[in-house]
Symmetry: D3
Subunit: 115 residues, 6 copies
């Protein structure tokens, strides 16, 4: 059941991204393209970039963005203790208003790990 | 099924608005009233106003507000290419954090069009 | 049915809080601790503190935070007319973008009262 | 010198409000009107309302709004210990990102008190 | 004196943009490029796009972004009555927390017109 | 002259922090304490933590917070190319609304380096 949380997120995301690309809007296409480039290895390594993406998503309180970066961190084998340290920074910067998003993030991280 | 996305939104919205009005709070009543006045034709035309409402709702990342203004744009027969241009401005101003809301907006716009 | 809205919120909140505490992250533990201390009676009374928490949650547009403080206000027997006055301040400060959260708040307040 | 911080804020605010009213935009006029009504004594007392306004301004990180409500709290003789309790709730809810606004709020509160 | 408000903004903006471009970061360069493309005439006309940019900047409470789009609206000869209608939509959507930004926007619009 | 930008920020920050601590509010004291603990080396290294703090400050558009973390990055000898990569992630996530803060960040980073 927790498995489907990950699948559901990935399926909806893929399906809608396809539809957005199909609309053939140049600005949106380039923005999506830039989004891919941005997290590639550069002078900052990929793990640090994903942690930055995760923390920013959390302080901006976007559950889907948090899920996306958690998925990436999982692929990169970031250990749970590091994930929670990123969570703690984001919750301190963003305040207790972030806590409901922390709950959903912890649930999703668990779902990724029991796949 | 996509049809019910529109109905579900409109039904919940109507039902709760009735309940809010029933509470008889003067400030809320006037605020709701002002909200109606604000989008009426003035020196700025109605379509431009709805596009402004749509873009602001998107950068502020409020799915329900996006749905409401998409419904209005649909009634005003704004073409899909214009809707996507408004989406592109909003996503550029608001950043990639807006993308999950873009996905749900595209889904809702589709639902409006297959009714 | 409305009853389960309250139970569902409380159950998920408790379950995930337990899991977060289990992760043994010191910063998060202290932040949660501070969150409890902060709303205890001080030179500002408990009702005013909960109203502040409710209004801040609303302008920051966090449904779960709004639910939490509505639950506390209900325990403290804050009358509906006062709840709506807090709602009106929050909606005026935060603007019409807050209205969808007002709808869900009104639904939850109703659910608390028909338990 | 600290005195002028208060005067400068009030002077600019009055001058620009006059200019905004002069533009004769009905929606803005009514919004300003509603803003005045909203903080008048109702079923929630004036001090609690100003505390709510102060806390909301702080979590939304608007220095000028914080200054305005601090001015009102000063007129209502809210003691410093209560002001700091409101600050502490707002900083906990809004997180450490609020701290720079806390600094400016503390400076302004001091300026109000040494007039 | 009001003239310098416009010059000061434009000078600082140009100077820092040059420095940012000089850093030769590809993602930032493309983002700036996209920002230019986005407001060019498409299926939505340039005036409507600038109004959208202005309103979004206002609800997101970015004074510099508001100034930039006001400058563009001034070049496009958007009449003051239309500017205030856009202001009114933005202030209603964004709430009274936007008012301090409205004040600075009105001051800047005035400065543009007395050049 | 650019030197004073750094000094001015640090002086004001120190002075107001002292005043805040002097108010003897327990919640604020603990929050400040937690803020210090949070960026100490843990399972995530100090440089990654400061980059996270910098990016979060930028997407939340807090100039003072950006300055603080830039100061820390400077002490930790983070190279300019890495700083700009963090800037690029933050500007992509947060959108063009972040650009005015990027300008001020670049100015401050320059000021730190010419000290």
């Amino acid at each position: 059941m927790t498995h489907s949380l990950v699948e559901e997120f990935n399926d909806y995301r893929s399906r809608m991204n396809t539809q957005i690309m199909g609309a053939d809007n140049l600005v949106l296409k380039r923005l999506f393209n830039l989004d891919t480039n941005c997290y590639e290895a550069g002078t900052v390594d990929v793990v640090a970039k994903e942690m930055i993406g995760l923390a920013c998503s959390m302080v901006l309180r976007c559950d889907d963005c948090v899920k996306y970066h958690l998925g990436k961190c999982y692929e990169l084998k970031v250990p749970t203790s590091q994930i929670f340290e990123v969570f703690s920074i984001a919750n301190l910067i963003g305040g207790t208003i972030v806590i409901p998003h922390l709950r959903r993030a912890v649930e999703y991280w668990e779902a990724l790990n029991v796949q």
